[in-house]
């Protein structure tokens, strides 16, 4: 981190459950316990070594108030400092990183979980809107994605063809990701023939809600060096929020994502965003993902699709990203897990040594969080 009075913080281990449309035979606690025990396995760390547990989920999605209280055992949080962030999981990692960086914890466990199959995703997003001006209109994530995609295409040179290609690449990569369960991998032609759900967004261009849990272990430099030969350092973090009202945001751009990325790269001392070898980003639609890629500075306005061409300097979402698998509230932490595992060489040989990680929450991606990583 920026000043030398703060501890360096590393991702030392992480794990996720398989992401699938429904884990109907398991409870939240079963998914959480599985991800947490997998993250600890092989590290030499025991649960007693974890000083603080930060978790992310949604009471509305979970169908109970302060739902984390029922999940403490599965998170190993018994009689520990534990805190819930009702936001995307990457915000929880931000909280945990500050705990470790400040010296108040040596090891932090970050957990995020979601079972959207148990409730209505549309109702969940509707509860996020203000009840007077937006909710009464029938606004949910689908309508928000449609309006934003319409604005993106209206205000930039991008076309529907580019958005089809971005979605097709996401699904193709997810097809190679053993942690994303898909019955079939839709091709570009399948995506193009899927009906509009909110034009110009087609069904297969909207992020697919999935059930799952993810756990990430953060540690100080001293602990990290003891545990692994290849700690993944968190070099920068940033966060910012858009205006609540969709109509008040800048059409076709994500200014808050831009601000969060600027904050993270400034902390990391990185002036050339083009130098990142890897990016794991969260988009709630193909156009949303394109807008994130552009806000992060990885492509010029309207040209996000270039990042998905062969020979692009940065590898965007080798995991497939959020379009094929969006465990709402856990999506950004899955991105951190994927990027860190890749940089650490846990998923095979990896050329990249730096990564940008992005998570988003709220209706129409109101809230953005960005991490920079380095090995």
């Amino acid at each position: 981190m920026g000043t030398n009075t703060l501890e360096r913080v590393a991702v030392v281990a992480s794990a996720q459950t398989t992401l699938r449309e429904s884990w109907s035979s398991l409870q939240h606690v079963d998914l959480i316990g599985s991800a947490v025990s997998s993250a600890l396995r092989g590290t030499g760390l025991r649960m007693q070594d974890v000083d603080v547990v930060i978790d992310c989920g949604s009471d509305v999605l979970d169908g109970r108030s302060i739902s984390n209280c029922g999940f403490l055992g599965a998170m190993g949080a018994h009689h520990k400092e534990e805190s819930r962030v009702e936001e995307d999981g990457l915000f929880g990692a931000l909280y945990g990183t500050t705990k470790v960086a400040s010296g108040s914890a040596s090891v932090a466990l970050i957990v995020a979980y979601s079972k959207p199959s148990e409730s209505s995703v549309s109702a969940y997003y509707s509860t996020l809107t203000d009840p007077f001006y937006q909710r009464a209109l029938g606004l949910d994530h689908v309508g928000a994605a449609g309006l934003m995609a319409n604005q993106y295409l209206t205000t930039s040179d991008a076309d529907e063809e580019a958005l089809l290609r971005i979605a097709a690449e996401a699904w193709r990569k997810a097809g190679n990701n053993p942690w994303v369960e898909t019955a079939t991998v839709p091709t570009l032609a399948d995506i193009e023939s899927s009906p509009y759900v909110a034009d110009p967004v087609r069904g297969l261009q909207l992020s697919r809600p999935v059930d799952g849990a993810v756990a990430v272990l953060l540690a100080t430099e001293q602990v990290a060096h003891r545990l692994t030969e290849r700690p993944v350092w968190i070099t920068g973090m940033g966060t910012a929020m858009e205006s609540h009202f969709l109509a008040d945001r800048k059409p076709g751009e994500l200014e808050a994502c831009q601000a969060a990325a600027a904050m993270a790269t400034r902390r990391a001392g990185i002036s050339d965003v083009g130098s990142f070898g890897l990016a794991e980003v969260s988009g709630t639609s193909a156009a949303g993902e394109a807008m994130v890629v552009e806000a992060l500075g990885l492509a010029h306005r309207g040209r996000a699709v270039d990042c998905y061409e062969d020979g692009a300097s940065v590898s965007v979402n080798p995991s497939g990203g959020a379009l094929p698998a969006d465990p709402i509230m856990a999506t950004g932490l899955v991105r951190l897990h994927e990027a860190a595992a890749r940089l650490a060489g846990r998923l095979g040989d990896e050329a990249a040594t730096t990564a940008l990680v992005h998570g988003a929450g709220g209706l129409g991606m109101q809230n953005h969080c960005v991490f920079t990583l380095e090995v």
Binding site: S25, G138, L147
Partner: protein, 313 residues
């Protein structure tokens, strides 16, 4: 993944549940005035004097500078579509009302002439106001070619201050392997199941995959007795949402024999005054089951726990 839970068969057992909550929403000045205006077939904006911007719909604070808004303005009923999307149920649009500096989100009429970005539209009013955003029913394409209108000052408008509201959310909760087995055992054998931690040897009810304290996987399911001791109790006199019994009744934490956890249930079998007088912490209790014909496979198949007074010295 060497995780038996995640590779087990899918035998989905689910609990259908609902969360229905009543609210009284407080509108505040801007939204209250705006909604009152809609009831009067007027679209109201608020003015930020600092930024010299007109915001539609009216806002209490400027979303740019954060200063409190100034006067309300009565806006024209016409504008231009700046963004549009058609979903299964509704056509949503952002509309730049003539004279406004921000967009208003609203519905476009279904059917009729198609609209796109740039289409001129005008307001269609609902017949009967309901203190809702939908008192402005929708916007519809306007090909009259009329000149854009201009904002004008409003007279005094009495804001709506409170709006009744309700939320109703539906869930299908998975029981998972442990709760599923617990409820199966209750339904078929009237036995209460726990899981045993191999480290601390505690038996946990309801059964679960991980010991909360040791964070190790529980090794086996074990039966626990339907007798136990009273750990804590309280006499409930008040009524509240979701209550399954009529007050007064005795709410209790019971440690079943053979387990280390506290089960929440009720103590009964005597009138509340007797229980108040004679119950004490540590007193033995035993389950009183409902008639077999009423078995549902839940912990509510136990009607109540009865105190075992005669065992006291």
């Amino acid at each position: 993944m060497s995780d038996s839970l995640l590779t087990g068969i899918d035998d989905a057992q689910v609990l259908d549940a609902n969360i229905a909550l009543p609210y009284t929403l407080t509108t505040g000045r801007a939204a209250g005035t705006f909604l009152a205006g809609l009831g009067d077939k007027r679209i109201l904006a608020s003015r930020c004097d600092t930024c010299a911007r007109t915001m539609t719909p009216a806002q209490d604070y400027c979303n740019r500078c954060g200063e409190p808004s100034g006067e309300f303005l009565s806006m024209p009923e016409t504008g231009t579509v700046t963004a549009i999307t058609r979903t299964e149920s509704v056509t949503l649009a952002l509309i730049r009302i003539d004279g406004s500096d921000t967009d208003l989100m609203h519905r476009l009429s279904s059917g009729g002439p198609a609209a796109d970005v740039g289409t001129r539209v005008r307001a269609v009013w609902a017949d009967t106001p309901t203190q809702s955003m939908l008192d402005l029913d929708c916007f519809t394409p306007d090909d009259s070619g009329a000149e854009p209108g201009t904002p004008s000052p409003t007279g005094d408008i009495e804001p709506i201050t409170e709006i009744p509201y309700a939320i109703d959310l539906a869930y299908r909760h998975s029981y998972g392997p442990h709760y599923g087995r617990l409820f199966d055992e209750l339904a078929t054998r009237r036995r209460i199941l726990g899981s045993k931690c191999p480290q601390c040897r505690n038996v946990l009810v309801p059964p679960r995959e991980f010991c909360d304290i040791c964070f190790v996987r529980t090794a086996q399911h074990v039966d626990v007795a339907d007798t136990g001791v009273l750990q804590a109790f309280s006499i409930i006199h008040m009524e509240f949402v979701g209550q399954t019994r009529k007050p007064p009744y005795v709410y209790a934490e019971i440690v079943l024999d053979g387990s280390a956890t506290r089960l929440i249930h009720t103590v009964g079998g005597h009138d509340v005054d007797t229980l108040k007088e004679r119950l004490s912490i540590g007193m033995p209790v035993r389950a009183v089951w409902k008639d077999a014909a009423d078995t549902r496979g839940t912990l509510d198949d136990i009607d109540h726990f009865a105190p075992v007074f005669e065992q006291l010295p």
